[in-house]
Structures are given as structure tokens and as C-alpha cells.
Symmetry: C2
Subunit: 149 residues, 2 copies
DNA sequence: TCAAAAGTTAACGTTGACGTTAACGTTAAA
DNA sequence: TTTAACGTTAACGTCAACGTTAACTTTTGA
């Protein structure tokens, strides 16, 4: 079969069933097809989406609302291929594209800011490692008060 | 004076007074000295600490608990200079240093993971920008159905 | 076929991270 | 000195992001 039940998805993703349903409830995960009886039937696409959301949540520390904004833009870009017809539609599409560009620019700025700070943190951690190892060496080379000399 | 009242700290940091007190309450910010009457008297060190916490919260998306762990280690390294006396103290200090090294290694791993994912995101955002701008160019060069030719 | 396993919705509970309000004490400037 | 501005603690409120439980229906394997 090409579809998964919610427990399969939960196990594959590491999320709880509640969380999966919750994310659907708030519009973060697209609602899957249902069986005759009403069971959710997920596809690979749902799994991929969940992975993306988890990455954004865990790594970027975004709220689900912020993630939703990002994912929405991304989706819009994909669905939103060549579909302009007349002058008004062109004008509208232009406005949409400009709005998307604005939001994406904002997000780039945020990501760059995060990258910068993360690199600072990384340096500090390296520094701490050095200091710890120096401390360990000190212990080796300075055994005890008046020992062996 | 070398001390600040809570409202000064709030304005300097952009946090609310409530948040500052809350962070002290959960042990994230060291409790400042008090005046005769009981008013909190902060120093520059408190301000610096608050900046660090804010960075970790906003950029790394850590919970306050996680931040506390990071900050604690850092503090320990600073306070924890050459203070070994006898063999048992040396052994204890060695264990402490090894434990700190373990935790710092963990944190480095997490930061590296975050950096990697952030760079992926950054690339994707660039890609989106390109696509949006292509869309805009398309609109310019394909004005209207059967226009001007 | 039929019970156990797994699914569903609905609703209330919980936890972290504060916001808000109340009731009161302290500082500082007029 | 006195009063407005600012500080304090204590307690309850809130919001996001789920956890948990209940009451019920659908699937499934022996």
C-alpha cells in the first residue's frame, strides 16, 4: 500500500499521534485522505512534511506559527506556476511575488543572524574545550604538593 | 553608581521586569544584592548575563532549562580556577573536568547539527529568491497575450 | 464472526514562560 | 515631609503545544 496509518507515521517520525493530529488541526500538516470509516491515510508527502517541520522546530527554534508561514510560502511557490492570463492577473501575481520576496528576505535576514550567533557560540565552546583540556594537563603535570622532587 | 534598578535593566535589555524577576526565580540569573529596603541592585555582570540568555533563547531556540545548563558550565569554568590541594581534590577535580568535557562535547555536536541545518535552510531560501525573481522577469518579458507583435 | 487492537472526536488537564493585578513598602524630588 | 513614582511579594490569568481520558467506531487477525 502507498498509505500509512497514524501509528505508522508516529513511529516513523518519532512524534506522538496527538501531535500529528494537532499539527493538522492548526493547519500545519495538510489533512490526509480518509478511509471509508474515517481513518486518516497518510502518504510519503506527509512524512516529508513532518520531517521539515521537526527540523525547523528543533534546529531553528521557530514556533509552529512561524514554521507555518515559511511552509506556506514554499508551497505557494510550488503550486504557483505559470497561471497568468490577463493584465489584472499579471498585476496581482506581481504583487504576490513581491510580497513573497519581502517575506523571504526577512527570513534570510533572520537565518543569517542566527548563523552569526551560532558561530560565536561554536567558538566559545571550542575555547571552553581548550580550557578544560589545559586543566586536565595541569593535573597530570602537577601531581601533588612536593611529590617526586 | 555602579548598580542599576530593575527598570534600568529592563530598558537596557528590552526585557520586562517580570521576566527579569522570573529568570532570577528559576535560577537563571544570579540574585543581585539588595538595598536596605530590599530593592534589587544589579551590576554590569547581570546585564551581560541577560544578553547571553537572550541570544541563546532567540537564536538557538533553547528552553530556559537548557540555557541554564550551558550557562552553569561556563560559570563553573570561570569560578573553578587552580584550587586543588591534595590527591583526593585532584581526583575530584579531574572527574569534574571530564564531566564538563562530556557536556561541552554534546553541546558542540548540537551546535554543529544546527549549523548544518541552518545552512540548508539558507540555501533553500536563496533558491526561493531566485525562483521569485525569475517569476518577476517572466512577467516583464511576457507582457500580455498577443501584445505588441 | 467476533473480540481485541487501533482509530476517531471532544473535552479537560498540564507545563513553561511569562502577563496582570492587588496590596503593600521604599525612594526621591518638590 | 510628603506624595508620586517606583519597588516588592504573592497569587491568579493566559497562551502555545501538546498529554490524557472518555466514549465511541472501525479494522483486523485468529
Amino acid at each position: 500500500m502507498d498509505t500509512f496509518k497514524i501509528d505508522d507515521v508516529a513511529k516513523a517520525s518519532g512524534l506522538t499521534k496527538r501531535t500529528i493530529r494537532y499539527w493538522e488541526e492548526i493547519g500545519l500538516l495538510m489533512a490526509p485522505e480518509r478511509s471509508e470509516g474515517g481513518m486518516r491515510l497518510y502518504t510519503r508527502q506527509h512524512l516529508e512534511r513532518l520531517q521539515q517541520i521537526m527540523k525547523a522546530r528543533d534546529v531553528l527554534g521557530y514556533t509552529l506559527q512561524e514554521i507555518q508561514e515559511f511552509v506556506a510560502i514554499r508551497e505557494e511557490l510550488l503550486n504557483h506556476r505559470q497561471t497568468y492570463l490577463n493584465v489584472e492577473d499579471q498585476e496581482q501575481k506581481k504583487q504576490e511575488l513581491l510580497e513573497m520576496k519581502r517575506i523571504v528576505s526577512q527570513q534570510i535576514e533572520m537565518v543569517d543572524q542566527k548563523l552569526e550567533t551560532l558561530n560565536e557560540f561554536r567558538k566559545e565552546l571550542d575555547h571552553m574545550t581548550t580550557r578544560i583540556e589545559n586543566g586536565l594537563v595541569q593535573l597530570q603535570t602537577t601531581p601533588r604538593e612536593g611529590d617526586s622532587n
